[in-house]
């Protein structure tokens, strides 16, 4: 068995109403140290995790949304968003954050790794993963 696995973090929950979004993000941050091949999949209410403009100044809750923008620096290579989930919620790519990625060895750069995918692609991407974190 190779020591590099394809990790998929599956996010289906809205932020703030429950802690799942935030604590799942903590797994990704810690997981970066293990140098796996990491993707994120946002579907259902999980697409709300990537919507920009969160303001918790009147909630007395920690605003963890800016952390998503840094995931490229934590070794996350792809952040997929399910198209149908996004559309049902009246959202478009313009509503979502942009996350840049750079390979410091090859100097390969990607401006934005947030990518909208359709149902067939979602199914295929999840099937190709080796470990799914829920």
């Amino acid at each position: 068995m190779s020591d590099v696995k394809k990790f998929m973090y599956l996010n289906r929950r809205a932020p703030y109403g429950t802690i799942y979004a935030w604590e799942s993000l903590e797994v990704i941050l810690i997981g970066a140290a293990f140098d796996q091949e990491v993707s994120l999949m946002c579907m259902d209410d999980g697409v709300y995790q990537l919507v920009k403009g969160s303001d918790t100044s009147q909630s007395d809750m920690k605003n963890f949304m800016p952390t998503y923008r840094t995931l490229g620096d934590y070794g996350v290579r792809h952040m997929y968003v399910d198209k149908a989930s996004l559309e049902a919620r009246g959202l478009t790519q313009d509503d979502l954050i942009e996350v840049a990625w750079e390979d410091f060895e090859t100097e390969e750069e990607v401006d934005n790794i947030v990518e909208i995918v359709d149902a067939d692609q979602v199914a295929k991407l999840m099937a190709e993963s080796e470990v799914v974190f829920s």
């Binding site: 703030y16 429950t18 802690i19 007395d60 809750m61 920690k62």
Partner: protein, 130 residues
């Protein structure tokens, strides 16, 4: 207006405890009476003094304690729910042979009758949960 507040979820995991806190605080600041805040189901977990949340996050337990100190609030944890989930005061520790307690100050453990009584005595019952 006299209010009874019920909290069904633990701190951090669900926002219910946050909402209940902000609602209770707003009611008190408006001069309303809060007859009792009753913590049920996982809500009893709000009453532990052993939490250490991250420095840059809110301290949900301490917030309740401070509100209770300021307004002399009655914060009650349901005893049956507390026993299942390991919330213990001195009395419970003695009765059930536990070697430690974890209840926070200003909270007390009592029976479900306290919820029924609060619902009867208050003008409104407001429930926060999952």
């Amino acid at each position: 207006m006299k209010l009874a507040v019920q909290v069904n979820e633990g701190p951090y995991q669900h926002q219910a405890s946050d909402s209940a806190y902000h609602f209770t605080k707003a009611a008190l600041e408006k001069g309303h009476e809060v007859f009792r805040v009753f913590f049920y189901h996982d809500g009893v977990l709000n009453g532990t003094r052993l939490t250490t949340p991250p420095q840059d996050d809110r301290n949900i337990v301490n917030r309740w304690v401070e509100l209770a100190e300021k307004y002399d609030l009655d914060l009650v944890l349901c005893v049956a729910a507390a026993q299942r989930r390991g919330l213990v005061d001195e009395g419970e520790a003695q009765r059930n042979g536990k070697d430690a307690t974890n209840i926070a100050p200003k909270f007390r453990i009592s029976g479900l009758g306290q919820l029924i009584e609060a619902a009867i005595q208050s003008d409104r019952l407001v429930v926060f949960g999952d």
